[in-house]
């Protein structure tokens, strides 16, 4: 139970473990010594860095709808959504329809790349080119995919395979590369 000292540092001890920890500190001098040294080390490890010159006050986000525009659009959007929902409900009552393919946007930030392609289980692993978004460094591709689970990766400059950094799900392929796992839910 040497790791009790790390659990103590990280505030992970429950009440029983706190009792064990205090007893151990009281009875075992080497444990006390190690815990003390790790605490001093932690002070250094957690030393803050002044980030005012490194991080901007605000995140330089790409253009988003402005509030006044949102206010203007919102009532119309709600009304349209209402009509659309009523229409859809009517359609569903008449006959059930299978989910339509969903629009998927693939985006990656690769300012240094000259060419970015995508290959996935939904393209039979054939490569499809992404288009640069102006000079922003972003590359994008819009596809409509039926609902399902897919594997894919980006290929940079024809040779380098990279997984999508925004998707947590990944798995190794048979060639030593890494693919992203994409779950697409159908649009009803």
């Amino acid at each position: 139970m040497a790791y009790l000292s790390s659990m103590f540092i990280d505030n992970e001890l429950d009440l029983d473990e706190k009792v064990q920890f205090v007893d151990k500190i009281h009875l075992e001098q080497p444990f006390y010594q190690e815990t003390r040294e790790l605490l001093l080390q932690e002070r250094l490890l957690r030393m803050p860095v002044d980030t005012r010159r490194l991080l901007p006050e605000r995140l330089p986000l790409r253009e988003r709808p402005r509030p006044w525009l949102k206010r203007l659009i919102q009532p119309v959007a709600y009304a349209a959504a209402g009509f659309a929902a009523a229409g859809l409900l009517l359609l569903m009552l008449v006959r059930p329809t299978p989910p339509a393919p969903a629009a998927s946007r693939f985006v990656i930030y690769e300012p240094a790349a000259h060419q970015v392609e995508l290959a996935g289980s939904f393209t039979d692993w054939r490569r499809m080119p992404l288009q640069p978004v102006g000079n922003s460094g972003y590359w994008e591709l819009h596809l409509r995919l039926p609902a399902g689970e897919y594997r894919f990766a980006y290929i940079l400059d024809g040779t380098r395979q990279v997984a999508d950094p925004t998707l947590p799900g990944r798995e190794r392929d048979d060639f030593g590369g890494e693919n992203s796992i994409l779950n697409v839910e159908g649009q009803v």
């Binding site: 040497a2 790390s6 040294e37 932690e42 980030t51 490194l54 901007p56 950094p165 990944r170």
Partner: protein
């Protein structure tokens, strides 16, 4: 979360601390902070606050960069210490931080990730276990081993 700007403000310092310990590079860590937030908000919008997801995105971005730039850039410290401290203290702090960051870079990849997460991310062992796809019991043991290993590295360099 009310919006992306607030999410950014509330999490940027901690995410920076995490990425600094992952990469050991002041400027690269700052670039990765911005990149991670842009990716997060681009894909998940600004209506959902999920710190574990933000750290997963940051981790993947950092690992991708580190894989591509295997060459060690070293740890370069500019004058980024707290401006409230004296020049002498600033120098001491800078040296201590540099030494610590270099020691962290010598840990095995999994140990470095765990140390970076526990000291910076404010995530519980359970959340870290889920994020790294290992058991919580494993996190307990590995975090402690990483700390002990770090102490050994620092002690060997002090000789």
């Amino acid at each position: 979360m009310k919006n992306g700007a607030e999410f950014y403000k509330a999490n940027r310092e901690r995410l920076y601390a995490y990425l600094l310990r992952m990469t050991g590079d002041l400027q690269l860590a700052a670039d990765l902070v911005q990149e991670s937030f842009v990716r997060y908000l681009d894909r998940y919008g600004d209506q959902k606050s999920n710190r574990a997801l933000l750290y997963t995105i940051a981790r993947n971005a950092a690992l991708d960069i580190m894989r591509r730039h295997k060459a060690d850039a070293g740890v370069e410290m500019d004058d980024h210490a707290d401006p409230g401290t004296s020049p002498e203290q600033t120098v001491i702090d800078r040296q201590a931080l540099t030494r610590m960051l270099m020691a962290v870079q010598q840990l095995a990849p999994m140990e470095r990730e765990l140390i970076a997460l526990v000291v910076s991310a404010d995530l519980s062992y359970r959340e870290i276990a889920r994020m790294l796809n290992i058991s919580e019991a494993n996190v307990k043991v590995k975090v402690h081993r990483a700390r002990v290993r770090l102490r050994e590295i620092l002690a060997s360099e002090a000789v």
